[in-house]
Subunit: 443 residues, 2 copies
Amino acid sequence: MPKLITTRTRIADLGKPRVIIIGGGFGGLEVIKGLQNHKVQVVLFDKHNHHTFQPLLYQVATSGLETSSIVAPFRKLFGKQDDFYFRLGEVKRINSIENYIETSIGVVKYDYLVIATGAVTNFYGMNEVEKHSSSMKNIVDATKLRNKIIRQLEYALLTEDPEVMNSLMDFVIVGGGPTGVELSGALTELKKNVFPKDYKELDMRQMDIHLIEASPRLLNGMSVQAGEKALKFLTEMGVKVHLNAAVKSYDGYEIMLSTGEKLISKSLIWAAGVKGNPVEGINPDVVARGNRLLVDEFNRVKGYDNIFAIGDVALMEGDVKFPKGHPMMAPPAQQQGKLLAKNIKNLITNKPLKPFSYFDKGSMATIGRHKAVVDIKGIRFQGFFAWYVWMFVHLMSIVGFRNKVFTFFSWMWNYFSFDRSNRLIIGRNEEKINQEELSKQSA
Amino acid sequence: MPKLITTRTRIADLGKPRVIIIGGGFGGLEVIKGLQNHKVQVVLFDKHNHHTFQPLLYQVATSGLETSSIVAPFRKLFGKQDDFYFRLGEVKRINSIENYIETSIGVVKYDYLVIATGAVTNFYGMNEVEKHSSSMKNIVDATKLRNKIIRQLEYALLTEDPEVMNSLMDFVIVGGGPTGVELSGALTELKKNVFPKDYKELDMRQMDIHLIEASPRLLNGMSVQAGEKALKFLTEMGVKVHLNAAVKSYDGYEIMLSTGEKLISKSLIWAAGVKGNPVEGINPDVVARGNRLLVDEFNRVKGYDNIFAIGDVALMEGDVKFPKGHPMMAPPAQQQGKLLAKNIKNLITNKPLKPFSYFDKGSMATIGRHKAVVDIKGIRFQGFFAWYVWMFVHLMSIVGFRNKVFTFFSWMWNYFSFDRSNRLIIGRNEEKINQEELSKQSA
């Protein structure tokens, strides 16, 4: 038995350098994998006991995938890795002078600290909008949204007031990035293939799906061609796309747009932006644009020797292609995590550090059946083949072999049946439905 | 468009007899299926938007199956059935004089009413025990229990007090019926195959699984031979079975048994009994033993012409083999539901009613890998072959083809990998873990 240190977290002192990683997202996982079989102790802290494959949360929200297919318990992923310790808990504060973290379960010392806490939804200070909208950053969010979508249609059956009925049947998605585009597309497929069978009593032509984007185009992170094609696909599918339009206010019922237009909906889904999610205790001067921590080319947080940040929460300036920081998505996080694991080993063995350089593999988004847009290097393509490429790449990226297999089966099932079997309302006190909710106000 | 009646539930008046079914369990589903394509309007009220396959809830609780595999949305099941209406809502009260029900979403008239509300957990008035224990009657219960089991082990990592550690690692299951036996077995398999890899820091020999049964034997509903073999299997697997022992009190930490023995555990799982779940408004004189509604041989609630009860909530006396009522499990509910659909058609067409007679197909329970007990008619067998029979019968009984396929894949996966991939903590405010919980008291 290794000697136990005196803090209450009971993480054994193995007498070797301890690397604490805060957050088991795409970046954190790569650091852990990269440090396997090296002479360090790896400690992961996370608020969840599982990794979440965030790019597919929208499919959970739209009944296409079950929750368990896109999450993987950390202990399953790293159960065989020596000197790996997981602790379920929230990190409250970093003490960089004395090299320890304060957590909901006690205090732990570190030799190297990796902040991989990712991002949270950014409502840009609009508290009223935040209060009334749905967002999607974890499994609970996605399940709540799924419950809500289905419940709104159950409510719509109960009213004769056409305005209230529309407020229940219309969905407004804010943000024309990949999440907004993919969610609008998936909702449209529910509207087309599933809801008409389920809700014969409702006139499904009354169901409107609005997509609101503040800039003049969709998919800003991709090519102009991809953005235009996505707009074409969505418009053909019946999505009402509002470009150059921002949400001014939302009280749970009325949405005021910057264009002066007013929409009525009890369901606003916010996918308009994220911001970094840094940990308390870091010098506020290095918290920069988008609430991200300024890091050097080795992902070291500026002004610190042994604290690193990777992925969405890190802002590395100076990349020729991304001078204002890398996009907040999986690939930069994964590549930074992989390199950081090497650099931590280099630090320990007194070897020189390697600077990070981002290899942009391109990006893609799916809109619906046989409809996707792909930018890979100079090559851009859209439609049928792009859709298969999107599915293949996502399937290969899902963490865990079992999850790949089960996601593949679910997708096959959905493809051939045109069905979405997970249209379930599951949650405490969520199943309750009361006539009283049918007012012209917030649900 | 059919004319809408004036109640707020907006269920169309089709001008044909309306059959309202309260509850979409095993019995309710059979009534709906049986009334397909007949000249009646079928209305299902349920608090959930899905049917739950309750016999496998214990596998959800022990991380063996994902929730979505054992539930099926009602609208998916009956989307193609003409004149079928589903309403998500709670039935509050029956008005048998004026033939309507009051629900959380309004009032609806019926011509024929079928009470198929099943059963709830019976704590026999022990409120303190109820407050501190887990039970399993729906998906939310099962998920809460899964979360709890995993969380207890995460907590166990954080304490040095051997008593507190035992209170977290020990699990006490009350009730030696099928649910208790199956749950004890499944927990033992987690202890043997999964937890040692996940929790290398814990000494898994410290994890005790207790099964408490008030009578002198296990599986009272089955043959003596099945009960003895189940006891042998469980004991070999390491379960501590306490026969002739009842729970006297539980404060969330200490369990006092009628034998004078004291157990310490923060996890007590109550599977010691169920009671009928009748609806308000029925004459209290017909609420009989086990809170069940007395029905005649046509499942008509005694004293009523057009109100029926089937399944767990119905008590039909006089069956030669079951003079005190049929067992509270799926087959009687299904057979009663099937016959009742026919009898409702007979009533409408003025044909004579057929009395119910239960065809006992036997019963079975699984204990673990290659270990099950089966009683079919005169034939009793246990072990390897029984286990395959158990799996086959359950697979065939799961509602929905997709669910059969996905459950089959999950079982294959679990069988060959010895793994349980759904060991997830998912829930609002459930992921939080705080050192403060580590007291010698209720969690």
